[in-house]
Each structure stands twice: as structure tokens, then as C-alpha cells.
């Protein structure tokens, strides 16, 4: 029974629930069986939410039985949550030892909305510590491995959420994207990952990394599935003052409208040196698919793409050093007791944080320290304006951008020890965060047997158009129905 549902899409599970072929309780059991079978090897899960999941599943089954017209598309659907999202009473660590044992007193808005929609949260997923990383090797607990090849990384920082979907544990999950942390692991794990416009999804109850960049978004096998999750979690929240009051609208009706007559921009800089040949080949083939669907392709230029990396590595560490100042061993998590409060701070943070977090806290503290603020943070925020203006200008002549998500496919664990070479993994995703734009990654083929991701980028608040362009590709191709070898063997 479990093997029959592992790896199915949200839509397939929802159809099964409605036809009576399966119950929410059985889908939950199938999800747990898949976790039990593969988590020891893949390192996907940090904690389980058994009580909450059972309550949600039985409530969903009651709704489906008694008032089926009130059951939404996520009712009874098992989901996984990146461990940066607070769930009341459930250990939430952000992948950091400094938060070991932390049980939040409230639940994140995005999670509450999933619960209200009847979704069944099965597990909290492993991630890079405080969402800092591109390989999931920075988790304070253990690395996550790629379901397509466990010798390789799943990408990061939401690697656990991407791998949980790719391994068929759940049909959908939530991650967060600060510089590519949804789209890049989606690409490396062969699933769909969507980063909405900044401000579309409330960050209330999200453990902050870089507040001006962080955005919550969904993973799933299909664009239609991520659209359903997005519709549930998006929308204004008075508890997050940066959440947008603009109406979300029903974007699901846009999905089937295709791309005929659309002008798609191909940014030259995203195909520059450093792009693996196999990735280039797969993405160029995807561009031809769009041409075949009646879109026109236009080469465009985003000259600040390269310098965006430099600006990002000022803005993100600066905001992280400020946000992580709160982890001092006083209010939650671990504490090293010492004779003086200062020594307790120093030792708690030294032993609680991992190497990458310390590196970014140091970098950010330096950039914000007296005498350096103008040269670094202010300058980077000005360059950010330039980056956003370049996107704006390009969108005067094209409706969307299509390009690779990651310059490389999944690499072996330990292959990128040098921090800068790891940062380059996000070179094609982080400019989108700097400009606040919606971006999606979807499977578009394989290179050396490993998944390749196609990225679609649209203007601010054109989340529906982003999903529509991606959906048109999936309607014409079948990469999204391929499953990792561990599912095909099952």
C-alpha cells in the first residue's frame, strides 16, 4: 500500500482521497513508511510531528467523509516543513545546535494556513544551519543526501524539504529561499521549487536569516501542485509588517493559458563561464520547447549579475549577524554557564554555531561595524537598487526570463570546501532575491544521470505568470514524472 502512494503528486493524492481509494490516515502511514525506509540513509528529517499529524489526518478524513465540498485541495495531504518554521510545542532548531530543544510557543502563519487547509504535517526537515548553505552539509546535526545519488548533496539550504519530496516521503513541502535555497535544491533533486515575490508569504514564525531577502515557498513534483500550496500560504498577514497587502488573486485559473505569443528573455550572463555543458544542453533544449509552444526568445543582458554575488554577501551576512545576535543562551536553547555573562555569551555562541554561521556573523559584523557601514552595507544596498533596475528594464521588453537555476548538477559531498566556491552555487538565483522577484525551478532533463533545473523569473507580484510559464513547459514535457531510483526500485 505504501509503495503505491510514495512519489505521487498532490493532485493524485487529492483525487485518491476524493474517490475513496485512499484515506488521509493511509497517506500518513505511507509517508511514515517512506521516512522509515530512507531517512537513515538520506538524513532528511530532524523531528517528527506524530501527534499533530494524527490529529490533522483524522480531522481531514472526517471532513472528506462528512462535508467533502468543504475539503480544499490540500485536505489530507502529507507535507514536510523546513525546520526553520515554528510549530507550537514541536522542537524547532533551524538545523543549529544552539537551538537544541527549543519548542516554540506559537506556530508560523504559513504553517497555520496549511493546518487550516487540512494538510497533514509529517516531519520537520533537515537544513543548512539557519538556512546558510548550498549543499546541506552545514546542518548542525547531519548532512542531507540526494535521493538520486546518496553520494551527492541535495543542494541547500532547504535540502531536506527538496529531498523529502524527491524521495516520495511527502508530495509537498515548505522551504525558504534567501539566495536560492528553494530553487537550487529543487534543481539538484529533480523537483519543482517556487520562491514567491518577497512579501507574498508571511514570515511570522520563520526563524530569520536575512529579513530583507527571506521568503517561504513550496516544493512539489508539479507546477500545479506548488500553485495549490502557494494559494493556501500566500496573502497579507498583520503579524508580518513586510507582508504585502495586495490581493493574491486566483492564479490557478492562469496556469493553463500557455505561452503562445509570450516574449521570453534569455539573459546572456546566466549562460556564462562556469555553466556545466550538460546543464547548458538541457536548458537550451527547454528553450526550444518554449519556441515550439509559440513563445518568442530574445537574448537580453543583466550586466550586474556577477556583482550581485558581492552585494548579496554583504547584505545577507549583515542581516544575519543582526538577527542571530538574539542567540545568547538567555531565553532559549543551549547555554554554557560561566562566571560572567560575557563569557557565557562567548562560549555559548562559540559552541552553538557551526563554521559557516560563524563566518557569516563575522563578515556581517565587520560590514556593519563603525567606520565600515557606508563602504559595505550602504554600498551593497545601492548596488541592489541597480540590480532591481536592470530587471525592471529587461521586463519592459520581455514577459519572463528563462535560464538555468544552478550552473552545476548535484556534486559529491565534500567537493566544495572553499567557502567562495560554495557561494558561487547561488550565482544564478541570488540576483532574484536581491530584486525581490518571483522565481521557480522545474526539472528540464538530466546531465550524467542527475537532474537539471530550469529557472523562470517574472516581475514583482507576477507570481501567477511565473507559474503559468512553468506550467506550459510541464504540459509539453514529462521530466516531472520521472522519479529517483529509490522510488523506481520500490
Amino acid at each position: 500500500m505504501s509503495a503505491a502512494w510514495a512519489g505521487r503528486s498532490v493532485a493524485e493524492c487529492a483525487a485518491g482521497l476524493r474517490s475513496g481509494e485512499v484515506t488521509a490516515g493511509e497517506l500518513l502511514a505511507a509517508a511514515r513508511a517512506q521516512v522509515d525506509a530512507h531517512d537513515a540513509r538520506l538524513g532528511t528529517v530532524l523531528s517528527r510531528m506524530d501527534d499533530l499529524a494524527e490529529r490533522q489526518a483524522s480531522s481531514a478524513d472526517r471532513t472528506l467523509r462528512e462535508t467533502p465540498d468543504r475539503a480544499g485541495p490540500l485536505c489530507g495531504i502529507p507535507v514536510a516543513l523546513k525546520d526553520v518554521l515554528c510549530v507550537e510545542g514541536v522542537e524547532t532548531t533551524a538545523g543549529s545546535r544552539i537551538l537544541s530543544g527549543f519548542r516554540p510557543p506559537y506556530t508560523a502563519t504559513s504553517v497555520l494556513r496549511l493546518l487550516d487547509a487540512g494538510a497533514v504535517p509529517v516531519v520537520k526537515t533537515n537544513c543548512d544551519e539557519f538556512a546558510m548553505g548550498s549543499s546541506n552539509e552545514n546542518s548542525g546535526f547531519r548532512p542531507v543526501r540526494n535521493p538520486w545519488d546518496p553520494g551527492r548533496v541535495p543542494g541547500g539550504s532547504s535540502g531536506g524539504s527538496a529531498a523529502a519530496v524527491a524521495a516520495g516521503m511527502v508530495p509537498a513541502s515548505l522551504g525558504t529561499d534567501t539566495g536560492g535555497s528553494i530553487r537550487q535544491p529543487a534543481a539538484l533533486c529533480g523537483v519543482v521549487g517556487f520562491k514567491p515575490t518577497y512579501g507574498r508569504v508571511s514570515r511570522y514564525g520563520l526563524i530569520a536569516f536575512a529579513s530583507s531577502l527571506d521568503q517561504i515557498g513550496p516544493f512539489a513534483h508539479t507546477v500545479a501542485d506548488v500553485a495549490e500550496v502557494y494559494m493556501v500560504i500566500a496573502g497579507h498577514d498583520p503579524l508580518d509588517s513586510t507582508s504585502s497587502p495586495r490581493a493574491v488573486g486566483d492564479i490557478t485559473s492562469e496556469l493553463g493559458r500557455g505561452v503562445e505569443g509570450m516574449r521570453l528573455g534569455v539573459p546572456r550572463e546566466y549562460f556564462a563561464a562556469g555553466l556545466e555543458a550538460g546543464v547548458r544542453t538541457a536548458v537550451e533544449a527547454a528553450l526550444e520547447v518554449y519556441r515550439g509552444l509559440g513563445a518568442t526568445l530574445h537574448e537580453v543582458s543583466l550586466p550586474s549579475t556577477e556583482v550581485a554575488l558581492s552585494a548579496y554577501y554583504v547584505v545577507a551576512p549583515a542581516e544575519c549577524s543582526s538577527n542571530l545576535a538574539r542567540y545568547d543562551g538567555v531565553r532559549q536553547g543551549m547555554r554554557k554557564d560561566r562566571d560572567t555573562l560575557l563569557q557565557s555569551y562567548l562560549d555559548t555562541r562559540d559552541s552553538g554555531f557551526g563554521a559557516e554561521v560563524k563566518r557569516r556573523v563575522m563578515l556581517g559584523t565587520y560590514a556593519l561595524s563603525s567606520g565600515y557601514y557606508d563602504a559595505y552595507y550602504r554600498k551593497a544596498q545601492k548596488v541592489r537598487t541597480v540590480i532591481a533596475a536592470e530587471f525592471d528594464q529587461v521586463f519592459d521588453s520581455v514577459d519572463a526570463l528563462v535560464c538555468p537555476t544552478s550552473p552545476v548538477v548535484a556534486f559529491p559531498l565534500g567537493a566544495r570546501e572553499d567557502p567562495l566556491s560554495m557561494y558561487l552555487c547561488d550565482a544564478l538565483t541570488l540576483p532574484v532575491n536581491m530584486a525581490g522577484l518571483p522565481g521557480i525551478s522545474l526539472p528540464c532533463g538530466f546531465s550524467e544521470g542527475l537532474p537539471v533545473g530550469l529557472q523562470v523569473i517574472t516581475p514583482l507580484f507576477e507570481d501567477g505568470r511565473c507559474l503559468r510559464v512553468a506550467a506550459a513547459y510541464q504540459a509539453a514535457t514529462d521530466w516531472h514524472v520521472r522519479r529517483s531510483p529509490l522510488l523506481e526500485a520500490a
Binding site: 530543544g101 527549543f102 510557543p105 506559537y106 518577497y198 512579501g199 530583507s212 498583520p238 509588517s241 513586510t242 504585502s244 556583482v307 554575488l309 558581492s310 552585494a311 554577501y313 554583504v314 549577524s321 545576535a325 545568547d328 543562551g329 538567555v330 531565553r331 532559549q332 536553547g333 543551549m334 562566571d339 560572567t340 555573562l341 560575557l342 563569557q343 555569551y345 562567548l346 562560549d347 555562541r349 562559540d350 554555531f353 560563524k358 563566518r359 556573523v361 563575522m362 563578515l363 559584523t365 565587520y366 561595524s369 559595505y376 550602504r378 554600498k379 544596498q381 545601492k382 548596488v383 541592489r384 537598487t385 541597480v386 532591481a388 567557502p419 567562495l420 557561494y423 525581490g436 514583482l460
Partner: protein
């Protein structure tokens, strides 16, 4: 551009990170490389550009100043490593 040992130590203290000598040396060298990369920012002419404050264009978000139920002391103290009544307990601040 290269950070001196005392600069690294100063930043570590500001960041409240009690690093070992080896860690401090390694971080110092890594920060040099990253800062060198970051120096490329100076190649961009920003003389006529304002800094980004809010990428979605929001400005001054207000709400009514009305009393609402708060979390409560028990819930707020629920994760305290040490507490004394309704207070978080910490070590001595003065020596």
C-alpha cells in the same frame, strides 16, 4: 585588503564569538578572500542611486495601538535555560 589579527579579535568580540586561536586565524584568512571578492562593488557607479530600503515598495506600515492578549510569562519562559520566578536567570554582569 587584509584583516589584522587584532581586527579579527575585535570583530569576534563585537559578534560575541569566543573563537579559538586556530579558528580566528582560519576565519581571518577566509574573510580576506571574501572581502576581496566583495570589493568588486566599487566597480559599480552608484553616485546617482538611492539605496534599497524595502524591495516591495512598502512604506511605513502602521496598526492601531490597541491592547491584545500577550503570550504570558509561562509560555515566554518555557524555553529558558534557567529561570527565577517570572524572570530569566543569567550569570553576574559585573565582576
Amino acid at each position: 585588503m587584509s584583516l589584522t589579527e587584532s581586527e579579527v579579535a575585535h570583530v569576534a568580540l563585537l559578534a560575541r564569538l569566543g573563537l579559538s586561536d586556530i579558528e580566528r586565524a582560519r576565519l581571518g584568512a577566509q574573510l580576506d578572500v571574501i572581502l576581496e571578492h566583495i570589493a568588486r562593488l566599487n566597480e559599480v557607479d552608484t553616485s546617482t542611486v538611492a539605496e534599497t530600503a524595502q524591495i516591495g515598495g512598502l512604506l511605513n506600515v502602521w496598526r492601531e495601538d490597541e491592547p491584545r492578549p500577550a503570550l504570558g510569562a509561562e509560555a515566554a519562559l518555557g524555553n529558558a535555560p534557567a529561570r527565577d520566578g517570572d524572570y530569566f536567570k543569567v550569570g553576574a554582569i559585573q565582576e
